[in-house]
Symmetry: C2
């Protein structure tokens, strides 16, 4: 396999947008094409991450539409749908295409337009990824997060206040990110006073419903200098699935897909968790950042929340998590998220993050489908 | 890249089925696992081709569900959606995964359950892949096929009767295929007397609405003997897109994506069109088999229908097309089709086609998204 690099990135501001999905992805792609000086290059493939444009916008075949809007024909285009990990699944397909030598230049776009429907409908659309015997009992992704938070607090004697600090931190990071959806600063008290959603979790423990898109350009590392001064190598990538029914999992406190996928990524990169300088996790709810930070190997089981409380994962900490603001505050337009996470890590490695910049040479992104139903973990390194 | 082989196949009977999408894909996958003696092997990836389970069945994330139903975790699973070429897009992803060395065993499943909605709704769901300025004017895939047939007849002075023979041939082939949806024999007169759908095309010029699934197992060629006595090499694979708006195409009589994708596949395989012994085309309407047979390089432009009339593409002809019955008569469960085409070619190369068996050592499958919006062409060869 060829070493494969990210040579350009783009993303829209996340939030409530009036443009359609194809418009948003076009905006992100144009930025990525400019960023990589590939506006006039021939692409061989376009991979699009999107979960549910059918329901949200009533359209089919977004990859055909985007390919043509960008004028990339005859480049091949297809959509990857892997629920909330559709973005990183598209990135994985792009990586396979370039790493295998099949394509020389591949464009990856992730996007979702969600604010076309009421919040409750969006939650329901997402919940229909669960097996019928869970979904029909009223299980939703937020309700599972509530159960996980309760189980974590009971098992590790963790405090509700500490969990709220994840949201406070991520809002702080987002306040320094012009592309973030929620840029307001919040306090622990704000979190604890916000409306209850799935006990013990409250409104401010959860990501908002957002529109947005992100894009990256992939090329062989050996040709990367043609496109950028600051290529970022994808040194490791791993992907794995867990059981469809959450009730079938051996240990509710372990996201097995994250564990297996990150093991594979570390092995491919020849890296260990302690070598990661910055990471984006899939914090759909505050508790998920904590559990993922353990299953990614950053902290021992039961130690994630303590590390968070100690400031280890803050901007100025040893291992800043979700410098972008994360799903929690940058926003979570489903299909965009996995690509946006990669964009943030690349920008950190390229020292382009302004007031939220951290010291980092090796970064990691972890995108999850649903409640850890699938996970894709990418490790990225400065290549120049 | 590693040489990659198909080491096992499975498919359900196509038709009006009562089982759900996941059930149908499970049935096809179990067959493929048995066929390849991989029931107890570790798979690294599952790629699922499906266009619109959201609309047809109200479910999300079919790849998560299928992976778990088959007990393949922690294998990674994702869905590929490329409208009516979703099946071959999943096969392309599986090929990339194995050819790149990332995976050793990959399972590819394609499926669609369509009879849950009325025919008109199915046509509308598919038509929503067209750009708004075509779709909102009443354009549908069948209406485009009608325009193409008229243009072909006018340009090449072709007869309506000759076109009907495509349907007659494909029903004949399907009558010899136990898995086909429509197994009844029809005459040219039956076609010409069937209800008008999109002038000059009539009901019997079009594929039916079907449920069904198909699956293949992919492995490195050098390990194929562990799994089967009759591995089939994927010697070439090519993929390309055309404009989203059909009105923007330079020549309505050329399916440019098919031309570009097949050129790439021939180049990779080191083959020429005249070396192909058997092929499956994407005959959603009779006219498409004709135009594709030209753009795949089998016949000169304007000669496809003459070749059909001369019997060249019949079971006993020089280049049998759609021995399975094609989309026209085997059926076209959208996401299943691209995989089912590959299964038919593999079975022909393995001499497992019973009364529809032809002499073939090299075969080709051409799966199209929509009206040639995207095309994936695979060339397969006997490897033992």
């Amino acid at each position: 396999m060829r070493k494969t690099a990210i040579v350009g990135c783009g993303m829209t501001k996340f939030g409530r947008r009036t443009e359609g999905l194809i418009d948003l992805m076009t905006e992100a792609c144009h930025q990525a094409l400019r960023d990589s000086n590939t506006l006039h290059e021939d692409f061989q493939a376009l991979f699009v991450g999107n979960m549910a444009c059918n329901e949200f916008e009533g359209i089919q075949g977004p990859a055909n539409a985007l390919c043509s809007r960008l004028g990339l024909e005859p480049a091949f285009a297809s959509r990857l749908e892997n629920t909330t990990a559709s973005g990183a699944s598209a990135a994985l397909a792009g990586w396979l295409a370039v790493a295998s030598g099949t394509c020389n230049l591949a464009l990856v776009a992730g996007g979702e337009r969600m604010t076309t429907v009421p919040t409750q409908s969006a939650t329901d659309i997402i919940a229909r990824m669960l097996p019928p015997h869970e979904y029909t009992q009223g299980f939703t992704l937020p309700s599972m997060a509530g159960l996980l938070a309760r189980r974590y607090m009971l098992t590790y004697n963790a405090s509700r206040e500490a969990l709220a600090q994840v949201a406070v931190k991520n809002h702080h990071n987002a306040s320094l990110n012009p592309d973030a959806h929620l840029q307001n600063l919040i306090t622990v008290e704000d979190v604890l006073k916000s409306p209850s959603i799935a006990d013990p979790l409250r409104l401010y423990d959860f990501c908002p419903i957002s529109d947005g898109a992100a894009a990256i350009v992939l090329a062989p590392l050996e040709e990367a200098a043609k496109f950028t001064d600051a290529p970022v190598l994808i040194s490791g990538i791993g992907a794995a699935n867990d059981t469809h029914a959450v009730q079938e999992r051996k240990d509710f406190l372990t996201l097995e897909a994250v564990r297996v996928a990150s093991d594979a990524a570390y092995r491919m990169a020849g890296r260990e968790p302690r070598e990661i300088d910055v990471a984006e996790t899939h914090d759909m709810a505050t508790i998920l950042e904590i559990v993922e930070s353990e299953d990614l190997g950053f902290f021992e089981k039961g130690e994630g929340l303590n590390a968070e409380e100690a400031g280890t994962t803050a901007l100025k900490g040893e291992l800043p998590l979700n410098t972008s603001g994360g799903l929690k505050a940058r926003g979570h337009p489903l299909g965009a998220t996995g690509v946006a996470q990669i964009v943030e890590v690349v920008h950190q490695l390229q020292r382009r993050c302004g007031r939220r910049q951290v010291e980092a040479d090796v970064g990691l992104a972890c995108n999850m489908a649903g409640f850890g139903h699938s996970a894709i973990v990418s490790i990225m390194e400065r290549a120049s």
